[in-house]
Amino acid sequence: MSNNIKYWKGEDELNRNPQFLTAQKNEFHDDLPLDEVFNEDAIELQANRRDFLKYFGFSVTAVALAACQKTKIRHAVPYLVKPEDVTPGIANYYRSTCGACSAACGIEVKVREGRPIKVDGSVDSPISQGGTCAVGQASILSLYDNERLANPLSNGAEQTDWVAIDAEITNSLKKIAAANGKVVILSGSTHSPSTLKAIESFKTSFPTTEHVIYDAVSYSGILDANESDFGKRALPTYKFGSAKVIVSFGADFLGTWISPVEFSKGYAINRQPAVAGGMSKHIQFESAMSMTGTNADFRFPMRASQEVLYVATLYNYIAIAMGAKQIPVPQQGELAGNSIKKTAEALVKAKGTSLVISASNEVEVQKIVNGINMLLGNYGSTIDMVNHSNQYQGSDKKTAEVLAGLKSGAIAGVIFYNTNPVYNHNSKEWTEAIKKASLSVSFASSKDETAALCQYVCPDNHYLESWNDAEPRKGTYHFTQPTISNVFNTRQAQVSLLTWANALVAPAKDPFASKGIFSQKLQASPYYNFIRANWAATLGSDDAFNGVLEKGLYAVAADEGVASYTGNVEALASYVSANAKASGVDMVLYQGIGVRDGAYANNPWLQEMPDPVSKVCWDNYVAIPKAMAVKLDIAEGDTVNVKVGDVSYTNVPALIQPGQANETVAMALGYGRTHAGKVAGSVEKGFDTIGVNGYAFVNNTGNRSFVAKNVEITKGDDNYSLAQTQTHHSIEGRDIVRESTYAAWQKSPNAGNDKPATHIYTIWEKPEYRKDGSPNHLWAMAIDLNACTGCGSCIVSCSIENNVPVVGRDEIRLRREMHWIRIDRYYSFNSTEGVLTKDTEIEAADGKGNFDHWQNVNVLHQPMMCQHCSNAPCETVCPVLATTHSTEGLNQMTYNRCIGTKYCGNNCPYKVRRFNWFRFNDNDKFDFHFNNPLGKMVINPDVTVRTRGVMEKCSFCVQRIQEGKLKAKREGKSPNEVQVLTACQRACPSNAIVFGDLHNPESEVSKLHKNERGFTVLEEINVQSSVKYMTKIRNNDSI
């Protein structure tokens, strides 16, 4: 082993639970139910002669009859008129804007024969910078969701005719206007200039209309603080790429906070030890173990309810160092080891290139954070308040006013656009309030909790069917163009608003006027005309507008200057003092990386994606610290009862989360949907609800608080097995991950990686194709453990690209997940005294009884997929040569040869082979998307859909390799000019994965394979894997 750190993946493994250890040795999770099968009454082992003849005769006849059908006639249906740009068999790519969340990443949509099949980041977009998050990746499946509303609803009944519905709604609106009643459009954050203008047009026709923005997960705290400090109610643009010291108070900025893809791209730059100006330092204070926390160099447990005290303390330390006035508070919120003081010192040292952020929704906390950044001179360098972000704009205060207005009858009409307050706000009050409105309309694309209560549901298009624009950052415009015509009888919300306001714009010119046969079929969307008219001043000509569409981006020069700060932090002293004390247990309500705020909960890919930290799929749970678990006698598989005020849930699954701060628990939002659909749950359709709704615990008075105080936790009387992938493969104490520190790396670049494996024997000769100068390719991969944040975007991207089926919760419990790439997460203890390395040390620490070391764990994320070993152990054991090696270094898997012995899976040292226990397509037992014609439209036509009984695994996206090679061959380019990006690499928001040709000395992968940090996993068994990992370097020598 190259270092002495003891890594572990789960508590069972750490404590060497004997049951767990035996289970690890077994090939199957449970014994095969052979006895059950043989004991069934239907099967008599002693059959008599007559029965034998009966069955024999029947089967022979049945087979004979079955064989009598004629060969199936297959049809080929060509285009009537081939669209000029479409070549069957070749994908088109269109730039657009992701509509999955308000971050509005620029994307590139892959379209095959008119059907979008993949979404990736646009390299030109300053937001996505070519990356995507898991939600963005998965959002394409929501387009093919057969539970979307196929028609508008009027009082619950489907109506195919929009005209009738429009007439009714317009009538209602006119009646309200005549009575001088108020109408509210309650929308999610929207920064589309054209959408805002459409809403303005609506307001012109119905002047009593108010537009209120509401976000399920609120940023009102920051917005209000900025309004008061800078006179501008906006989020700033954070530049993580310029920050050398990052301090985050509970903000999961790599996972869910504001614009995670943009932040990950920036963050990754300075996480390289070799970066100019030195590696950045990341310090995280938090209660729950967030994904961002797992990437921190220093992570300190913090009670969320006391955040204001910690922030004020940090402010005061910095104020002392900078010679500024302190906040006059008597109490200091220092943590063990003077962590806050040291953090302050680090920040001051890096002033101007540091960044302090907080996820708190308390205005006072955010004001102090603003003050800290002001003291450190970060405005203008790492924080841009001039060219601010538009990504979230919701106002909790105004939302509460809408609720009150509806209840009192002051608001007569309400239109929900991209909002679902019945689910994610005060459910009971909204239910009553909506019923009181004389007009209630929802633009939801499915009958969600709110839409179910509305008189009218006018389903909005999916963003891939829509025209739109967006301004995620001041002066940065993205464009959305449809990549498919409407799947259902839906209509863009903007068109609905304009129709009701009678404000549709006549087209300047019909773009389809000269398209021959199509002229009678196609009509430009009315909203397209509206957008064109809206951009007429800047992008008047067709060329200008189409050029911008092609690029997906229009940017105006950034404004210079610094926003003027008028904040007064000292005035907050009394607030700090009043909120300094904590009592009871805190509960942090956070967004999971997969389903986030719950809007996409019905997307099976997101449910199946393991949480980056806990590796739990398909459920939410109460994460509790070890100390609490010991106190309440809770073990894995137990449940807890949670009570906050008069809201309570019983028997919620509990999970002992290393890193969870003592006296705090955490629960993910986004679950407990009652009107989502077959995946996340639907009362109406009779599907079980997944998890419990954490929004019930959110305090909705004032700025909504996502930290619940005085939580009562008791042990539940039930057991529940969470579907967790983390313990499915054990590491058996082997040297799989390597890490070192920045100081050690500066001394020697092979730090942590300096003990090469000994005793390497081989019975194989070096194959011809591996030798230098071979005219072929040699495909290989390099993964940077420093860059990987564990976000899981690659997992979803891989599943989409390679038609990996969704298996569901029960199969994952049986360790039968199908993901071709997984991200292994390793814990190691890291107490204030240093890293605990030996079992005896860990036992001694456990013996102290306070379990402080369980709050301080280091985490390492390691993406793991087929390593394409040159001496592949799987290949030598296959009895039918279904897995073989190619001369390009690929470990090939041939499904049609495979007979399913699973020997290869057994012999694989990396446990990356997956067995198809079932036929997942057309199988109603797996009721996700593979069993309906619409859901199947997302299938990649270049990859085989595997059937039951075969092994499968990562192919290095061989279909993309072949495509890239063919392109070079067709154009007569040299092999070194072949461009191939694997699906995981293409999706990665932190550039952690590099793929390429080792025979090309100029390729990035060749260079990385020679990097001193590079190691191959299990080098000592000499399988000659093609994937090199870069040793993790932590900048944690000293704060």
Partner: protein, 441 residues
């Protein structure tokens, strides 16, 4: 400018005069209707004209009564010049009448040729209605009825024979009851079946062995038939030639008319699919080519199917030809690869420079397309082992080619790259063309 115009008009006048002279000089030979018919067909006049029906151009019967011979010669040979230079008012009027659709220029025809064609039109007999269509229909029917009736009759007669033989035997036995001698003869040991059937000593062999032998022969034949049946069941469909919704003839288009394969299968060099052409490709020609001459003034029924699919009305006003109800054509797929096999046309046609015929056979001779190759994996592999690919010109294969050339330089004829003609031999197999992931993923 003025003199210039005069001179141009003069030239035209002289030219016309000359032409008239030449026409009149030829006119002394009697126009030949037979030659005219040949010319009519060779120049595809029927593409745009019918004798009795207005198609793209006017109906031709009686054209000699409407126009003078000189006029016709000038119009047919170069109608553009006739309109624009000569500015013949009738010609311009005709052009405008047909919505500005210009007739092709036929300067290859001599004036005498034109008159031959006119003569043919003059003498052409009035065709009987719709004979051809009916004929093709009855031919197209897959007629096995007679065979079935015959088989049924054979079966019935055999059954009757069997019954009669049985009856005869019984009667014989009843008759013999009265005569003990005859009864004894009847009950005496009989010759076995094989003794009766087979000559000499062959009949005296063990009947069990003989039976087994017979079963083996018949069984073998049955098994062979079964195997043939089963391989079609698993997708081996060599020779599969289903009837298509439109009787498109590759023999006519690719063979006779020599239309380039890539004209219709336009994506063959860039995509994995050669792609069946969209109907707008058909319409490039068949907007004009309607074969009215062959179908008695009617549009060919097969071409009508294209129009029906597009909901296209050739007689509608320009801009309104396409109706609102197009229905795509469901062609029957002939070449069906299993889903787990990936094949790319561009790789083989553009990069590997293979002819279409290598896999598809003499497609230009097929009236009805049939599957020429088995499309089994063995067939693919055979070619990948043996096909010699020209890669020297492709930069992608440069290093590979150099390596092969070097190998020949050192190992001479022992090199695996050594071809009989001394040149470099490279097969797909030598560059990983037999590896699983080249086609299966």
């Amino acid at each position: 400018m003025f003199p210039n115009m005069i001179s141009r008009n003069l030239k035209v006048w002289i030219l016309t005069a000359l032409m008239t002279v030449s026409v009149s000089s030829y006119a002394q030979d009697k126009p030949n209707a037979e030659n005219g018919k040949k010319l009519y067909e060779a120049n595809n006049c029927g593409s745009c004209h019918a004798l009795d029906k207005k198609v793209v151009g006017p109906a031709l019967r009686g054209v000699h009564t409407r126009r003078s011979e000189e006029w016709l010669v000038q119009w047919v040979r170069n109608n553009e010049k006739f309109r624009k230079v000569t500015k013949d008012p009738d010609a311009i009027a005709l052009y405008n009448e047909y919505g500005g659709a210009a007739m092709n220029i036929f300067e290859n025809l001599t004036p005498a040729n034109v008159l031959d064609i006119v003569e043919y039109i003059k003498t052409a007999p009035e065709a009987k209605k719709a004979v051809a269509v009916v004929a093709t229909d009855s031919q197209a029917k897959d007629d096995n009825t007679t065979l079935y009736i015959l088989l049924l009759l054979v079966a019935i007669f055999s059954a009757i024979l069997l019954v009669l033989a049985r009856v005869k035997n019984t009667l014989k036995r009843v008759a013999a009851e009265k005569d003990p001698e005859e009864l004894a003869a009847m009950n005496a040991p009989k010759k076995g079946f094989f003794e009766k059937v087979l000559p000499g000593k062959w009949g005296k062999k063990n009947p069990v062995v003989l039976t087994l032998f017979a079963v083996a022969i018949f069984g073998g034949y049955a098994a062979y038939q079964g195997f043939q049946f089963s391989i079609t069941e698993v997708g081996v469909q060599k020779g599969y030639a289903p009837k298509q919704p439109i009787a498109f003839s590759h023999q006519l288009h690719a063979g006779q008319l020599k239309v380039d394969c890539k004209y219709c299968h336009s994506t063959v060099e860039e995509s994995k699919q050669a792609s069946i052409p969209a109907l707008n490709t058909c319409m490039n020609c068949h907007k004009g080519v309607q074969l009215t001459d062959k179908y008695n003034g009617e549009i060919s029924p097969e071409i009508k199917k294209i129009y029906a699919a597009l909901d296209y009305n050739p007689e509608a006003k320009p801009g309104e030809e396409y109706g609102p109800n197009p229905r795509p054509i469901k062609w029957v797929r002939i070449h069906n690869l299993p889903d787990h096999a990936y094949f790319n046309h561009a790789q083989h046609v553009k990069v590997g420079k293979q002819n279409c015929q290598t896999c598809h056979g003499a497609i230009e001779k097929m009236e009805v397309v049939q599957q020429h190759s088995s499309l089994q994996m063995g067939w693919c592999i055979d070619c990948h082992r043996n096909a010699q690919v020209d890669v020297a010109s492709n930069n992608y294969y440069k290093a590979l080619h150099e390596k092969a050339a070097k190998d020949i330089a050192t190992n001479k004829s022992k090199s695996k790259y050594f071809a009989a003609d001394g040149k470099v031999k490279l097969t797909p197999a030598m560059n990983g063309g037999l590896e699983c992931s080249k086609c299966h993923y």
